[in-house]
Structures are given as C-alpha cells and as structure tokens.
C-alpha cells in the first residue's frame, strides 16, 4: 500500500498527488515514470513523476482526470492509499551538455516538463520555458517555471492569458532570433509532433516524452511500442524520451485511441455506480 501524503487541485481537471514511496524516491530521476494500480480490480496506468523528495521519501505525480482510472485516482484523498506503485521506470532524460535550452510544456505536460527545466537550470543552462494552455483558467506551474527559467512565455489558444496562439509560434520566433542547442517538448502528441516539425530545419536536438498505452511498464507486454526511425521501440524500457525528429507521431495517435470505446463504456458504468 502506498499512502497519499498530499493532494492538491491545480485546476479544474488537473490534480497533483504526492505518494509515500521511499524506495522509488531514492532512485527516481527526471523523465522517469511510475505505474499506479489503485485497487485489486484496477488497471495499471503509467504516470510520469513530476517531483520527488529523497529525504521525505515521496514522489509526486500530476494527473489529468480524463479516463476511468484517472478519475478514480483523483477522487482519493490525503491519507488514502493505492494498492500498487511501481518504479522508477523508463530511462532518465539524457540532456547532454546544452548551453541554451527551450523547455516546452503543453497543458498537464507542464508538470512533467517542470523537473526537466529545473534540472537544466540547476546545472547552469540558460533555460527558456514556453508553456501552452487552452485558456487562462487552466494555467498551471507559472510560479514554478518562473523560478527555474531565464525566460518564461505563456500561450493560450484563446488569448485569455499570455500570448494568443500555440507554443510553436513562440518557438518559431525564438529559433529565428537566436541559437539554441536543445528543445524538450512534453504535452499532447500533436503538440510534440509540431514542435519537432518546427525544430527539424534547424537541426536542434529535440526530446519528446511519449505516453503510449502500457500495462506492465517493465518491457514485457510490448503494448507501448512506438515506431522511432522505422524501428520498433518500447517506451517503457527504451524511453519514454525519444528523438522527436524520428518518432512516427501519427501511428502513436492512432494506437492511443485503440481502447476509446471500451474506456467510454467503463466511464459511463463508473458514472452510474457513483450515482
């Protein structure tokens, strides 16, 4: 059993949950993920670690309640427990030795981009953060990003906060004006796809963090396979970070939608049982 030490609502659909997990906290690095199973009949879902405290023995994940299990998870309260928490899984992010980096977060992806920005900033890299949201009411991690970046740009699709438009527009402008040697993009698959498209002509190393369907997370089931440069890779052991210029994003989008009908069915059942 893994106890919830703290739960914070970040916006209407995004919640931060801190678990007591001393073994994992000791080892986890930015870019790695955990697998959570809530109860005996629960499914295993991967969640990227957004923060950790080795002293306290805790790891924090940020969850967007969109599916059956994520809704069940955010319904838990501080003091409640989940049955299983497995990790740290996947490879830590390999930054190399950049001088000037852009870290891009899209929506809930900002929570996962944050430890990356923090890690880079702490080793003296010049960090520019671009964080994108649909609208003002769902903006998260503004203060956190400010503390670990040299420059922060916030975009909203509807212009209700920061600059109106997409993260790619800001990115394009930055790349035209200055030289960067690393871009990290974490967020919706389509955002990562277009970020990679923008950086490609500049030949800038672009790391994306993928979130395919996964069961065991240890390299057994192959559910999380992605096509990277024409090769089959497993996000759980080879990733979850990959070279954005080599990933077949369209295949990933299609495969991620595989259980949509089953998921909707479960959600309706869930709504019914919740009254």
């Amino acid at each position: 059993m893994f106890k919830i030490l703290e739960k914070k609502q970040l916006n209407a659909s995004v919640t931060s949950i801190k678990f007591e997990a001393p073994f994992i906290a000791k080892k986890v690095m930015p870019g790695q993920f955990v697998i959570v199973r809530i109860d005996e009949k629960g499914e295993r879902i991967p969640l990227t670690v957004s923060n950790f405290d080795r002293q306290e023995g805790s790891v924090t994940v940020v969850v967007q309640a969109i599916g059956f299990t994520t809704k069940k998870l955010v319904a838990l309260e501080t003091g409640d427990s989940v049955l299983d928490l497995v990790g740290p899984l996947g490879k830590p992010t390999e930054f190399g030795m950049p001088k000037k980096a852009i870290v891009i977060g899209g929506g809930v992806g900002c929570a996962i981009a944050y430890p990356q920005a923090k890690a880079l900033y702490n080793i003296g890299v010049d960090v520019t953060v671009i964080s994108g949201f649909r609208s003002k009411d769902i903006v998260i991690y503004e203060e956190e990003f400010k503390a670990v970046s040299n420059k922060l740009y916030i975009t909203t699709d509807d212009g209700s906060y920061g600059q109106k438009g997409f993260v790619t527009e800001v990115l394009d402008k930055l790349l035209k004006e200055d030289n960067y040697d690393l871009v990290i993009a974490i967020g919706p698959v389509m955002m990562m796809k277009f970020v990679s498209k923008v950086t490609k002509p500049y030949g800038i190393k672009t790391i994306v963090s993928l979130n395919p369907i996964m069961i065991d997370g240890t390299g057994m089931c192959g559910g999380c396979r992605v096509n990277v440069g024409g090769q089959t890779k497993f996000a759980c052991v080879d990733g979850p970070d990959f070279d954005g210029h080599s990933v077949d994003f369209d295949e990933l989008v299609r495969r991620n939608g595989f259980y949509k009908n089953e998921e909707e069915h479960k959600c309706r059942l869930g709504d019914k049982t919740n009254g």
Binding site: I24, K72, L89, G223, R255, E263
Partner: protein, 461 residues
C-alpha cells in the same frame, strides 16, 4: 499385475463447444477411481526411464505405486520431495517429450498418464491435505530471488527448506510470473497458483511485489543490504515482432500484451477496469503454446474466426500435443505452411486483413526442423480485425544493463555455467533469463540446480 489396457484412462473434459465460450478449466481431473485405474497401468519398471525424462526427477513409479495403494496424500508427499509446483506441472508440462515420452508403455499404445496422475495427487492434497508443521533449522543466511516465476519459486522453496532466509522480489503486483500473466485460467486456474505460493509462504519465504530490480534496486544494492547470494529468474522479456509492413496498425498485439490483459489484469471480467477489444476475426502468428493460448483466449472472448498462422507444417508445431488437440476441438483454424507478408489496415489505421504467402519445407535447418521456403506468387489475404504476434521474446535488458560484472550472450541472455552460476560472484541465474523462452518445467529444473549450487557456495563460504 499391471492393467495392460493400451489407452490412458480418459480425462473428463468440458464439451469443446461449451468451453470455447468460457474461461473455466478445460480438463476436470481424474476421480480417485480413475486415478487408481490409470496408476495400475504402470509397470513399475526397474530402470525407471520416466524419472530421467523429468527435469526435476520426480520419483514417478514410487508416487504411482502409492496411488495404487490408495495412499493419495503419501503419493503427493513423494512428488513434492522434488517438485515445488506439482499442481502446475501436472497441468502444463510437455509430458509427451519428457516423462511420458520415455514410458515403456508408450512403445505399444499410450504411455501412463503421468501428468494427469501428478495433477490428481496435487489437487487431492489441496482439498484434503493439511499443511505440515515444518521444523526447519534456520541457518541465518539470506538469499534474494529476483522474479516469482517458476524458476524463482522453485529456487526459493528449496533454499527455504534448507534453512535459508529467502526474500523474493517480484516486479508485478502478483507473484507467479508466467503462471499468472501468461498461461490462461482455462489451462491453469489462478487459484491453484495462489495455493502453491501460499505453501511457499508457509515455508517462511517473503515475497515483495512491485519491485522492479535493475530500477528500484540494483543487484549490488541487494548484496549490500545483507543478502549472501542472489538468484536471477527474471524470465523472458520483450516480445518480438516480425518487422513487416502494417505491424504498427491498430489491432496488432504481442501475445504477451493480449494474454497479460486477460490473465493478470482479468480484462475479460466486467468488474475489472483493464479494457480488452472483442474482435471478430483474429489471426495468431506462431505455433507454440503461447500461440495456442492466445488463439483459444481470443475464441473465448467471442471471436467467430480464429486462425493460427504457422510457417511450417503440423508435425513441426512446438506446442504441447494436448493444446493443439484442444485448440482444434475448439474450432481454431490452423493455416499451416503460411507466413505473413504484411498487415493490411483500413483508412483509420485499423487492421482489416493479413496477407500471407504459402510455404514449402526444404532441408532441415540449425534447429533440426525443415526450413520453410516461400512459394512464389502464392500470396493470399485473410480478413481479420486483430493480429496477435506469438513468435517469441528476447530477454529483458533491465538487470543485465544495470549490473556490473554480469555477462550476457549475443542474444542478451545471462551467461551461466552448468551450476547456474553467472559471471558475478554470489549471483546465480536460470530459467528464460538464461536460456531464452522455454518451458515452465525447464525453468523449475534450473531453479533447483541453482538452489543446490547456492547452498554449496554458502556452506563453504
């Protein structure tokens, strides 16, 4: 005088067309009367070829003799002396190539049904036996076992009986390894596996789940924690794919994913949260036990047509005879001498067919089996909405890549000597992690050998 009937006593089974719609066990097991009748077919021959055919050397004629006497619990004790998981082995061992393959009765007629008898005594014990208070002299030495599958559980059991303090680290949330995630309920009820594991816990073995070794702890850290020796039985790893066009389409699974959803996550039961697609027509590529399990599971999920696509002929199928027989009875359609060329997807990227080419058999290859060769211009398409790849696995890299001093071979398997010792001091390995994908019983045999080696190593240390 032995009963000279040429045939085994028939195993009561669920009707094929009923059972292919449910996940209950196919074979119902012998009654005591059937068991005694079958046991009487054993000649109790002097040189006991069956025992040498068993990777864990169960004293087969001895336990069968006890069944003849009606001493079923005594028979169980005899099996249990060398076999940690009799209820499992009785169900899933490829007896025809092991004990039963060597049985003298098999020369004229059918061999003695050793597997069925083993299962009978194990099931009888589970229903009627009592856990014995074991008086184990603890030796205060600690051994860590990585992986709670067949090899790890066997190694743990043998070492615990010798007085070692044993802790098993398991990556999944449930111990059992392939017995839990791989082999389906209708062939090996999970209750049976749970009971066998309970037996192990009664021996004092501790099992820690959710521990992915190589990630949360390294082998060296485990040794630093005070363990005197380590056995790695981490099992098979990454599923293989063919590398053909369309394999990234929606509706293509590895057998591991498909079976894990069903067996470990119980996705076929409505009250479990893990989803599974119920496909109409399913192609399973491969001819081993995993392919049979996948095909029969797909049928039980409601598929109208399930095809096994295998590039060699029926004779070459590596699966257990009984599984092939059961699959056929359950209306699984075998496409022998066929090999997939590409998977065809619709405009949404979902599988709508699999294009195969016909094969013929040429000269024997390195495996001793005749090599399949493509017949030109013989391509044809089977309409399916799901494809399951059951063509094997490659070892999991997690431990090898994070442990200094541990050597792997070209295929990524851990290198071990005949005593299951790795290239690293105090570290032993066995099962699929060392051999590549093989059977439950071979993994158990390796676990046994390793336990013996570890005992010798620690006694002399």
């Amino acid at each position: 005088m032995a009963d000279m009937s040429p045939d085994k006593v028939k195993m009561p089974e669920q009707d094929p067309l009923v059972r292919n719609k449910n996940f209950f066990e196919v074979s119902k097991g012998y009654t005591p009367e059937m068991a005694v009748n079958e046991a009487n077919r054993c000649l109790n021959c002097k040189n006991k070829p069956c025992v040498s055919g068993c990777p864990v050397n169960v004293k087969i004629p001895d336990f069968i003799a006890k069944i003849c006497e009606g001493d079923f619990l005594g028979a169980y004790e005899t099996v249990k002396e060398t076999n940690t998981l009799p209820a499992v082995c009785g169900r899933v061992c490829p007896q025809e190539t092991q004990c039963e393959g060597k049985c003298v009765r098999g020369i004229k007629g059918e061999s003695v049904a050793i597997g069925r008898l083993e299962r009978f005594v194990a099931d009888y014990y589970m229903e009627h036996g009592k856990t014995k208070e074991l008086n184990i002299q603890k030796n205060n030495k600690k051994v860590a076992i990585i992986g709670a599958g067949p090899s790890g559980l066997t190694c743990a059991s043998d070492l615990a009986k010798l007085g070692y303090d044993v802790t098993v680290f398991e990556a999944f949330h449930t111990p059992g390894g392939v017995l839990i995630y791989g082999i389906p309920e209708f062939r090996l009820p999970k209750k049976i596996v749970e009971k066998e594991i309970k037996e192990l816990e009664n021996l004092g073995v501790k099992i820690m789940t959710d521990m992915v070794i190589g990630k949360v702890l390294s082998i060296d850290e485990i040794i630093e924690m005070g363990f005197d020796a380590v056995f790695i039985g981490s099992g098979a790893g990454l599923p293989m794919f063919m590398g053909i066009e369309g394999e990234g389409s929606v509706g293509v699974y590895s057998a591991n994913e498909f079976l894990t959803r069903i067996n470990l996550m119980k996705a076929y039961l409505d009250d479990y949260d893990t989803p599974i697609k119920r496909s109409k027509s399913v192609a399973v590529v491969g001819g081993g036990n995993v392919a049979m399990d996948s095909a029969r599971s797909a049928k039980r999920l409601g598929a109208e047509n399930v095809y096994i696509i295998y590039r060699r002929g029926e004779e070459e199928l590596p699966a257990r005879k009984e599984e092939i027989h059961h699959a056929k009875e359950e209306e699984i359609e075998f496409k022998f001498l066929c090999n997939p060329k590409r998977i065809i997807a619709d405009e949404n990227g979902c599988v709508k067919g699999i294009e195969c080419i016909r094969m013929q058999l040429g000269e024997p290859d390195a495996s001793g089996r005749r090599r399949p060769i493509e017949i030109d211009n013989s391509e044809f398409v089977i309409d399916v909405d799901a494809v399951i790849m059951a063509i094997g696995t490659t070892p999991n890299p997690l431990i090898l890549s994070t442990t200094e001093g541990l050597e792997g071979n070209k295929r990524g398997c851990l290198v071990v000597d005949e005593n299951m010792k790795t290239t690293k001091e105090a570290v032993y390995a066995g099962g699929d992690a060392a051999t590549g994908a093989a059977t439950v019983i071979l993994a158990m045999g390796a676990g046994k050998t390793a336990a013996k080696s570890i005992d010798e190593y620690l006694k002399n240390k």
